[in-house]
Amino acid sequence: MTSQPLSREALLKIRDLFVHFDLGRHTVKAVDGVSLDIYEGETLGLVGESGCGKTTLGRAILRLTQLTSGQVFYRDQDLAHLSKREMRRQRRHLQIVFQDPYASLNPRMTVGQIVREPLETFGLARGKDADARVKELMRTVGLSERFIKRYPHEFSGGQRQRIGIARALAVDPDFIVADEPISALDVSIQAQIMNLLDKLRREKNLTYLFISHDLRAIRHVSDRVAVMYLGKLAEISDAKTIYDDPLMPYTRALISAVPVPDPAIEARRQRIVLPGDVPSPINPPPGCRFHTRCPYAIDACREVEPPLVEIKPNHFAACIRISPEQPDIEKVAPGDAPGLSYAASL
């Protein structure tokens, strides 16, 4: 899968989304101004390190976390400003699959009850119809209907994730946030779940926001990839481009740090090892948030917040040291910041 045609319609339009958590004396700026389109039928991969705000962004889109400000348009309806009741009705179309399937399944309910609950909540099926639908959903996600009376603890991690997926599918949603859905699973099981999610997307024309810190999985499942760093988007493009031609220095380091399962490639790879840790989102650095670890940072990077601009066609990056004329950070003249004048010209 490669890039999306531009004409494709956005199912979700996220505009200037902020999620700040007030801790009394401090404010955690978990999501700090994110705008993003998610196209119908695509898998958008959202990748970043722990604390970058990717999970908070996913939850805020579904209003499972209170937004501080911003808009989330779903089919031209702003979810951010719906009443609780109206939002509950919309939830039918917007579902989530969690990282830890065990924590997200009620241990006192059988698989049948878990998958059936959303059908009844939304009044979609009752009695025998609901029974039939539950069995059909179990088959769809690869669970034998013999297990219908079993409890979550009787299943392995991968099977529990299938239960979580069946529950999300029960209401026939358009859009699913998959929040680290394979991180807790063994390697051989991860492939099963990735393939299952992909099959369901094609069969049911679903749209996914696939959140993960696993860059290999993101590369595999995504049509486009958005990279997040400390509450902001650093770069976004189609998956192949992000991995073959990353532009922003953080993305470049991130991609170069991914271990590749091939000894020949590993032996000749030059890894960009970043110094230090990700700074705290409580007091994020001013200017570009990456400047504290960036090998290319100049004085201006400490002051100017870089806007996310289109450096190459459909390839957006937030870095003042590059521009459409000079997209290669390695070739920029020392001290030069061509992105500054370019952003001013927009």
Partner: protein
């Protein structure tokens, strides 16, 4: 003083079982390998494959009961660790053999300053005085790249980030210049840019100290870049064993082959991922025959009936499979 044949570590037919009401779980059931000085061995496997139990057996940290090392030899520098007194093992553990684990908080005491935790090790094993141990602690933190080491040595573990705690644990493990470092999923809990820092650190320290390393992980990407030899474990058994480059280029076991194909490779475009069907077996109720038979894409009648042989494919390459030679030959093309 080198061990037999110049090997630092020789493990022969190690078997570690756990006894429970459900029956006996053969967590490690016959593993054999040698590790030369300065070499890195990777042990890969999924959860329940026995890779961590194998590591804990080597340093004799298996809780007994319910665990029991049923048989085997663990010859470290000419000395069988299974046949020397516990006190002698304790002397080796932490000084000549050191360990780092996935979660640094399991090996760091949250109530103790980092300085004191580092000092304990060298006071015990190297006979350092308090002042010597303190200086050594600062030096070790500098070695593992903690900025402002002298100012931070008196911090508590919670004042450090996950990556820094992992560095502290590595500093502690390396305090006595061990000859063997066992790293059990050392970067699994860390972010990818921090993982790169830690792996780079282990590589550099290995080069400067000449230590041998056993790296236990589920991540085939990490072992590809870090190890000389590989062992692939499944259901307590060694399924395949080979030099790393050969194992990746020419696997001789259907499980290894499936595992390699099921990991997305970001450098290549892929369609549908290969998936190994089903689940790993219950170790307390292993079927007759090959433990992988139920999930294997080339299973034959004999696989369900007879336990497979450990077939030698080249001078250092072995595979546990009735059809090892065929799989190996297919991989060549």
């Amino acid at each position: 003083m080198n061990g037999r044949n110049g090997n630092l570590l020789e493990v022969r037919d190690l078997r570690t079982y756990f006894h429970s009401e459900d029956g006996t779980v053969k967590a490690v059931d016959g593993i054999t390998f040698t590790l030369k000085r300065g070499e890195t061995l990777g042990i890969v496997g999924e959860s329940g494959s026995g890779k961590s139990v194998a590591n804990l057996s080597i340093i004799r940290l298996i809780p007994a009961p319910p665990g029991e090392i049923v048989s085997g030899e663990i010859i470290f520098d000419g000395q069988d660790l299974l046949r020397i007194p516990e006190a002698a093992v304790r002397k080796i553990r932490g000084s000549r053999i050191a360990m780092i684990f996935q979660d640094p908080m399991t090996s760091l005491n949250p109530f103790m300053k980092i300085s004191r935790q580092l000092m304990e090790v060298t006071q015990l094993h190297l006979g350092h005085s308090k002042a010597e141990a303190y200086e050594h602690a600062v030096k070790m933190l500098e070695t593992v790249g903690i900025p402002d080491a002298r100012a931070r040595v008196d911090s508590y573990p919670h004042e450090f980030s996950g990556g820094m705690r992992q560095r502290v644990m590595i500093a502690m493990a390396l305090s006595c210049q061990p000859e063997l470092l066992i790293a059990d999923e050392p970067t699994t809990a860390l972010d990818v840019t921090i993982q790169a820092q830690i792996l780079e650190l282990i590589k550099t320290l290995k080069q400067t100290t000449g230590a041998s390393v056993i790296l236990i992980t589920h991540d085939l990407g990490i072992v590809a870049g870090m190890t000389d030899h590989l062992i692939v474990m499944y259901a307590g058994k060694v399924f395949e064993q080979a030099p790393t480059t050969e194992l990746f280029a020419r696997p001789g076991n259907p499980y290894t082959k499936g595992l390699l194909r099921s990991v997305p490779d970001p450098t290549h475009e892929q369609g549908k991922l290969y998936q190994i069907p089903g689940l790993p077996p219950d170790l307390a109720r292993l079927p007759a025959g090959c433990p992988f038979a139920a999930r294997c894409d080339r299973v034959q009648e004999i696989c369900r009936r007879e336990f497979p042989p450990f077939v030698q494919l080249s001078s250092e390459h072995y595979s546990l499979c009735h059809f090892a030679k065929e799989v190996y030959d297919e991989s060549a093309t």
